[in-house]
């Protein structure tokens, strides 16, 4: 039996600390994952042959590599070639690399769905290729990609727990430590699960709000 005050004195403080780390991992990974994802999709779609193929290979490589393996390479493998990362940094980089690859696929699909004619019309107005991409294609593609991107963000929330395998004491890790110490597996893991559920639910609601805010009549759904 766990001691009195277990929840208030031990569980909540431990999980709160873990939650802060989880949030840090997510907040640092997601924006760069999105930016890199946009970059890869643009490189693949509009880059020269070399860049385009490089982006394609990158996506194939990341898709085919278990995230845990990628994290191990970053954290345990890189020091042998002189690059030493903290566990936290290795986790964030791994999450960005993974998140970006999948994001790029959603964005690429959305880019392809923007009607060709608009590109032609924009060029006919004197826009450069980059202006066409920035002013016409991306604003539409990103709107269309929101459902996919938010899905990927939700995955990120959950796979951020893999950072524990690199000794980062995030939410899951903090739970695991408390659970083992007090033999309170069910209580602790259910509590941890509820926190993840809350994060994901919050995200879902926020995305729904975002979608409504940027909705354009006739463009989405």
């Amino acid at each position: 039996m766990e001691p009195a005050g277990f929840i208030t004195d031990i569980l909540i403080p431990a999980l709160s600390q873990g939650l802060v780390v989880t949030l840090q991992l997510i907040v640092l990974s997601a924006p760069f994952g999105l930016l890199l994802g946009i970059g890869i999709s643009l490189g693949r779609q509009y880059g020269g042959k070399t860049l385009s193929n490089f982006c394609k290979l990158y996506v194939i490589f990341i898709k085919g590599c278990p995230l845990l393996l990628l994290l191990f390479i970053l954290y345990f493998g890189l020091p042998s070639i002189g690059i030493t990362l903290t566990a936290f940094a290795a986790s964030v980089i791994g999450f960005i690399l993974c998140n970006a690859a999948y994001n790029s696929e959603y964005i690429r699909g959305a880019i392809l769905s923007v009607k060709d004619g608009q590109t032609i019309a924009a060029q006919a107005l004197g826009m450069t290729k980059w202006q066409v991409i920035r002013e016409v294609i991306l604003p539409q593609a990103l709107r269309r990609a929101i459902p996919g991107l938010s899905n990927e963000f939700i995955y990120l929330i959950k796979y951020s727990s893999l950072a524990y395998m690199l000794t980062v004491i995030e939410l899951s890790g903090a739970g695991k430590l408390v659970a083992t110490k007090y033999f309170a597996y069910n209580e602790v893991f259910i509590a941890v699960g509820i926190v993840y559920l809350a994060l994901v639910t919050f995200t879902t609601v926020a995305v729904h709000y975002l979608e409504k805010r940027v909705a354009v009549p006739g463009m989405i759904h």
């Binding site: 608009q118 019309a121 060029q123 006919a124 002013e135 539409q140 709107r143 354009v216 009549p217 463009m219």
Partner: protein
């Protein structure tokens, strides 16, 4: 060498898609304020010709001049020429994510680097010209085809072009909407805008064009003022083609 009377000169344009030779050496000149209507069977290179003029399609051979400046082979300066040569498309191609007024002002802001206030004022002015000012805040999906086409004309006008290319501007519209777009185009022609129009609207050609060019198989078969070309063509082929529209182009005496 140069003739200032011509705004636009098109010289010996050739274009192939694969082995299909779409344009086989097309040349013509455009005077300021002139409306030239291109007619002819579908697939004879009329739309391709328009796209070769502003280099949306790059011709294999031939040159295009805007006044004394060469539009073909102009490198990055093509952006300048495209501002001077506006274009209106069959399917409007409005930017789906922008309201009507944003559609008109976006190139003013990004290409002409106009300040937001002047750009908005200019955009609203152009929308007013085409009778769409009340629809400024509506998105393309909320507009009828005729309204969308009028916005796209405003978008082209906003750049202060010297010439506007119309690529079958009414082919996607029903007769009623066609009429509202043609009204705008007539008004434009009367105001002195130089216009090149690919169209099957013979009534429009008859009443507005200064010159009609009949094209077939990538060549200009015949060209001349409407009176000659529609009512007394020199070539059998032209006669056969315009004859199909005889009821539309009847002269009302």
């Amino acid at each position: 060498m140069t003739d200032d009377a011509f705004v636009l000169r098109v010289e010996d344009i050739h274009k192939k898609f694969g082995t299909n030779e779409v344009l086989k050496g097309v040349s013509f000149n455009v005077r300021k304020g002139e409306t030239i209507v291109f007619i002819g069977p579908s697939g004879t290179g009329k739309s391709t010709l328009l796209r070769c003029i502003n280099q949306l399609t790059i011709p294999e051979k031939g040159r295009v001049w805007l006044h004394d400046d060469e539009v073909t082979n102009s490198g990055p300066k093509i952006s300048y020429f495209r501002q001077k040569i506006g274009m209106v498309f069959q399917n409007f191609y409005l930017f789906d994510h922008l309201t009507a007024v944003r559609n008109v002002e976006i190139a003013l802001l990004k290409v002409k680097k106009m300040d937001p206030e002047s750009a908005r004022r200019k955009a609203l002015h152009e929308l007013e010209q085409v009778g769409m000012k009340d629809w400024a805040d509506h998105y393309p999906a909320e507009l009828s085809g005729g309204q969308a086409q009028r916005v796209s004309i405003a978008r082209a006008l906003a750049m202060d072009p010297e010439v506007i290319l119309f690529d079958e501007p009414t082919s996607a519209l029903d007769p009623e909407l066609t009429r509202e777009v043609l009204e705008v185009m007539k008004k434009l022609a009367k105001s002195g805008m130089t216009m090149l129009v690919v169209s099957h609207e013979m009534g429009f050609a008859a009443s507005v064009a200064n010159q009609i060019i009949f094209m077939e198989n990538g060549n200009i078969v015949e060209q001349g003022p409407p009176d000659a070309l529609l009512y007394d063509p020199s070539y059998v082929r032209t006669r056969k083609f315009v004859g199909q529209f005889a009821d539309l182009t009847q002269r009302k005496d």
